[in-house]
Symmetry: C2
Subunit: 192 residues, 2 copies
């Protein structure tokens, strides 16, 4: 993030001077890119957290089935909770980068970490939501949902929120993949 | 794939001369890389095909449940059949490339096509298998599997084969991603 200007011996850095044109444009673009990632992470966090909360509160009295009896619903809760925590951590890293101009981890580690985790957690979340959908459809075929329909409706909402979280995690993964490729090509996350 | 040697006016290309050292090494490495992709595609094809066949033949007489009654099992069959067809087409493309030294589609289209489809089909296959697993576990909890256990065993085998297919599709995706990055960096799929 240092500007490419060099200083003569004994000269103090000029504090009022604006940085060179190219650097400003480059920084602005990087900031806009980071803000876009931050928005996607925020959306992913909100949807995953909402999904986990909807699932964990899904028990309606003693004559209704409980969510943690079903493996697939436990999987949905766990995957969404993990993704919510991960998104929160990544949001912190994004805010840090926007404010300070440097990555939290060393740059190489950070770009690989982001892309790798985005990919793995996207697979995890999609498989959890698919499993949840299959179970939910099966329950609708039986007599569980006719007896206590609010349980099934709440499960469906939770799973739908999980899919929305997956969508935004996928967008984040595309952006972090783009950043990784830029880093591999140029040796810097400044891409444009 | 042309060797960098140039010919003088009126000279015919020498047919007995070996190509330059660098080109041979580069070609050998590319061929080894393509062979590795071909092996992964073959494994992915075999497992997906076996999974689809196991699922489609999963009906044991009139008193046993039929696989196409269940949404998730239909999804498992469809996803595996699609991946098997795709892997077969990609195997053809790999063999063509190994034999002829050029890609079937233009190089830019080919590398993006491979990576994009690998990613999408990997997500598709994983979600199908996860949905199938959830349904299979639910059926084990009910009385379907105690009455006709062979139906459940065959479903489980089909789903397990699908997961194996996903694993090899994931490896192919890694390699095609690597090839895409090489192509973006160097403008050529020759990477090493």
């Amino acid at each position: 993030m240092r500007s490419p200007q060099s200083l003569r011996n004994g000269e103090t850095p000029p504090r009022i001077l604006a940085p060179p044109f190219h650097s400003t444009v480059s920084e602005q673009k990087l900031r806009r890119f980071n803000t876009l990632i931050l928005v996607f992470r925020l959306a992913s966090f909100c949807f995953s957290l909402a999904s986990a909360v909807f699932m964990v509160t899904n028990s309606h009295g003693s004559n209704s089935p409980n969510w943690h009896v079903f493996d697939a619903f436990r999987f949905v809760f766990a995957a969404n909770a993990i993704v919510a925590l991960y998104s929160l951590a990544e949001m912190g890293a994004s805010v840090w980068e926007i404010l300070k101009g440097t990555t939290v981890l060393p740059e190489t580690v950070q770009v690989w970490f982001d892309f790798g985790h985005d990919q793995v957690f996207a697979y995890l979340l999609l498989s959890a939501d698919a499993a949840g959908t299959a179970l939910s459809r099966t329950l609708r075929g039986g007599d569980t949902c006719t007896a206590t329909s609010s349980f099934c409706v709440q499960s469906d909402i939770s799973i739908a929120l999980g899919f929305a979280g997956f969508l935004f995690l996928g967008f984040s993964s595309l952006l972090s993949g783009f950043r990784l490729v830029c880093f591999i090509i140029r040796g810097s996350r400044f891409h444009l």
